[in-house]
């Protein structure tokens, strides 16, 4: 099977990627490992030409991460957001991609619209959310503005919900984050799945049409299996990205990572890493490795599951 000529060729094809990754990804990872195991390491200390700081080798940085009072909060938020957003966004994106692929009139217009987020500035995206969920609370009993979402709730006969302002509840904050993250993730996933659908051999569908197979069965028996490599991709990278959630939370709640008066309520692992990167790179590296271990385990499980259910 594996002849040596092929081996040589495969490595040749891979060479440019491997060289670049070794220099700009693997080497930094090794450096991260080094920083993680030097207790109390900071780059500023190491750079000091006048004082020779001695860092002892040990697991002190890891201990420090786990001792952080908010560590469990970080972990809980990270996992919760990931488990909620990945399935929802994947499912919605799949529906949209399949629907988009099945229509004729308006297809071009709708597709263009689903691409638009790529030419939208990220600042704009953050501001929209503030406008939708943010309540502007004045001094009177009635707020100056309750946000569009609450206006809709009101029209439907429900009560206002304090989504993200001072005194809002944890579940409401999580709902806002889930909506925001799903929204953010949708365009990318639609693009990928649509590309995947277009690569699917159309003969299968024609065969199904000739047989008069019902739509739902075509979807579950043909579309999903044929699309399974792309679905696996979207789900696995979704989980990897989901565990690294940070900037979306800052986008909504600001650097304090929580509603006013309840800061760090939505803190995540990467949030912790970011703060530590400022002046304690050793601790930040240790936290990154802990996060890596978690993502690694989850990805291995994902891969195992997808191997079983993916049809290549």
């Amino acid at each position: 099977m594996v002849d040596s000529k092929h081996q040589w060729k495969a490595w040749l094809y891979l060479a440019p990627a491997i060289v670049l990754l070794l220099i700009f990804t693997v080497w930094p990872i090794i450096n991260t490992l080094r920083m993680a195991f030097l207790e109390g390491y900071t780059t500023a200390k190491e750079a000091n030409p006048f004082i020779d700081y001695e860092f002892t080798v040990g697991i002190g940085n890891f201990v420090r991460v786990i001792q952080y009072p908010g560590f469990m909060t970080c972990l809980q938020n990270t996992i919760l957001l990931c488990v909620l957003t990945v399935p929802i966004s994947t499912f919605l994106a799949l529906l949209i991609a399949v629907a988009l692929n099945s229509i004729k009139p308006l297809q071009r217009l709708l597709q263009t619209i689903f691409f638009m987020p790529y030419v939208t500035n990220s600042i704009a995206i953050g501001m929209v959310f503030a406008a939708m969920f943010n309540m502007i609370i004045g001094g009177s009993a009635r707020p100056d503005s309750v946000g569009i979402i609450n206006n809709v709730l009101e029209a439907l006969g429900f009560e206002y919900i304090n989504w993200m302002n001072a005194g809002s509840e944890y579940w409401a904050n999580i709902v806002v984050m889930v909506v925001y993250i799903v929204w953010n993730a949708l365009p990318f996933k639609i693009l990928i799945l649509l590309g995947g659908l277009q690569s699917v051999n159309k003969q299968y569908y024609e065969a199904a049409r000739v047989d008069g197979t019902p739509k739902w069965r075509v979807f579950t028996r043909i579309t999903i299996p044929l699309l399974s490599p792309m679905l696996a991709y979207v789900i696995i990278t979704g989980f990897i990205g989901g565990f690294k959630e940070y900037s979306s939370i800052v986008g909504i709640f600001g650097e304090s990572m929580g509603p006013v008066g309840n800061d760090y309520a939505l803190d995540t692992m990467v949030g912790f890493i970011y703060r530590a990167i400022g002046n304690q790179e050793g601790t930040a590296s240790a936290a990154a490795l802990i996060l890596f271990a978690i993502i690694f385990v989850v990805t291995m499980i994902n891969l195992a599951v997808s191997k079983k259910s993916t049809h290549y």
């Binding site: 490992l33 195991f37 900071t42 190491e46 006048f50 100056d144 001072a166």
Partner: protein, 467 residues
């Protein structure tokens, strides 16, 4: 499985190699901290190139370019390149990374805690030798500085000078003069009077929030300073703000907040200037207004109300913020300073110093940035400049920047400086969050909740600053 184990082993080996290399090297042990004047002084014949990092926008960069041209009239051999890194944190992150390979610039915008961070890497040049040298400041020039601004450079716990003030802003009280005059209200100068004023305004107009205070962090730090209670210290125990006095003033302000007498930027969901100018609800009927607003002097233009046919909706008054003790007033000073980085070539350091000195003492430069952005000039002699004096004359609602700078200059003796250390910005962030947290406390046991919040804030400070 075997493959995974072998790759783990490979990584471990690489790691061991790195650690070996790490402990193997030693650094040159000299403690050359002070600047040493090169023999023969500054060499005016040799070309020197220096770099300056800042966060100036386009308009300020233009003023800077003019200043550089003026400077080059005196020292044609000093070439200055400057770059903007967007905001103060951008400058800090850039330099923090560059320091690890010795690629830092010669001169940079800085805040005190940035200097403290660069100092961990031993990268900042102390300025005492330069100031006293033949190229230094004259006594007259030193006296010309607003004292607190000048002393900020010495707030690092060792008495040495690490930075120079370049452009400063402060907090002032904006009030709705038309409203105050109509109802015969007097402008409060103390916090007790402020309480009284808030009560009166609330009675006059129950739906309003009399006072908006933009920055929660400034409020806390300024109150500590006014009461003389502990906030932070540059040496020994850093975070001292968990004390009885501070609990008490927070408790008092919490009552104000609960009475809807006051709101802040974070609690109202935006700069309180929007409530002050009444633009919050699309221009027509506004259900919530502020009649007083404590905000940055740099944001003065946003405190300007709408005008119709050249007439402002109301007249704005500007004055100093309320005090605990009017005899001993304290107001915050903000805005960037500049620091000089160490360099192997003393000529480069000297050239940088000459430029830094020019920027801090040149009346035209100081006056221009003040007129452009509502900064308070760092030297008093700017007021003697005829163009600038004329600018100050125009102080009014229409020329609100001149008004605010005028107030800023009048309170020159009241500025204070907070201690600077690696972690002082963490303390600042945390007390800001602490104020938000305490003001919204509900329930019966307020005291216990306040106590708990303070304790947690100190813990967070210690953790984030690496202690």
């Amino acid at each position: 499985m075997k493959k995974i184990i072998s790759s783990v082993l490979l990584v471990a080996m690489l790691l061991a190699l790195c650690l070996g290399a790490m402990t193997g090297c030693t650094k040159p042990g000299s403690k050359a901290v002070e600047f040493e004047m090169p023999e023969g002084g500054f060499d005016t014949t040799k070309e020197v190139e220096i770099t300056f990092y800042h966060s100036m926008g386009a308009a300020l960069q233009e003023i800077l370019n003019t200043a550089i041209a003026d400077f080059n009239e005196i020292y044609p051999n000093i070439k200055i390149t400057h770059k903007s890194y967007g905001d103060y944190d951008g400058v800090r992150d850039q330099i923090k990374t560059e320091i690890t390979v010795g690629g830092q610039p010669n001169l940079a915008y800085c805040y005190p805690d940035h200097v403290a961070l660069y100092n961990v890497a031993g990268a900042v040049q102390t300025l005492d030798v330069l100031i006293e040298s033949e190229y230094g400041y004259t006594q007259e020039q030193i006296d010309d500085f607003i004292p607190a601004y000048y002393n900020e450079g010495k707030a690092f716990g060792d008495g040495k000078m690490y930075s120079l003030p370049i452009a400063k802003s402060t907090e002032v009280l904006y009030y709705n003069k038309t409203f105050f005059e109509k109802h015969g209200l007097t402008v409060p100068t103390t916090w007790d009077e402020m309480e009284e004023t808030c009560r009166k305004i609330k009675e006059l107009e129950p739906t309003c929030i009399p006072l908006g205070y933009d920055s929660e962090a400034n409020w806390f730090i300024t109150m500590c300073e006014q009461y003389g209670s502990d906030y932070t210290s540059a040496s020994g125990e850093n975070f001292l703000f968990d004390n009885e006095t501070n609990h008490n003033f927070i408790k008092r302000f919490r009552t104000w907040y609960q009475n809807k007498w006051v709101t802040t930027e974070a609690l109202s969901g935006g700069y309180t200037s929007a409530l002050f100018t009444g633009e919050s609800s699309g221009g027509d009927t506004v259900s919530t207004r502020c009649y007083m607003c404590i905000g940055s002097s740099g944001g003065a233009t946003y405190q300007q109300p709408n005008q119709t046919n050249g007439v402002f909706e109301f007249e704005v008054g500007i004055t100093s913020i309320p005090q605990i003790d009017v005899e001993n007033p304290k107001v915050i000073s903000q805005g960037p300073s500049i620091c000089i980085f160490k360099n192997e070539d003393p000529q480069e350091v000297l050239a940088t110093w000459l430029f830094a000195k020019f920027l801090t003492t040149d009346v035209v430069f100081q006056g221009s940035i003040s007129m452009n952005n509502g900064y308070v000039p760092v030297i008093k002699s700017v007021e003697d400049n005829p163009v600038y004096a004329e600018f100050l004359q125009t102080a009014s609602t229409a020329n609100i920047q001149a008004y605010v700078v005028k107030v800023g200059l009048e309170q020159a003796d009241a500025y204070y400086v907070s201690p600077a250390f690696n972690g002082s910005s963490v303390a600042r962030d945390q007390v800001g969050l602490l104020v938000q947290k305490c003001l919204v406390i509900e329930g019966s046991d307020v005291d216990a909740a306040i106590k708990k919040a303070f304790k947690e804030a100190v813990e967070e400070c210690k953790y984030q600053s690496g202690q």
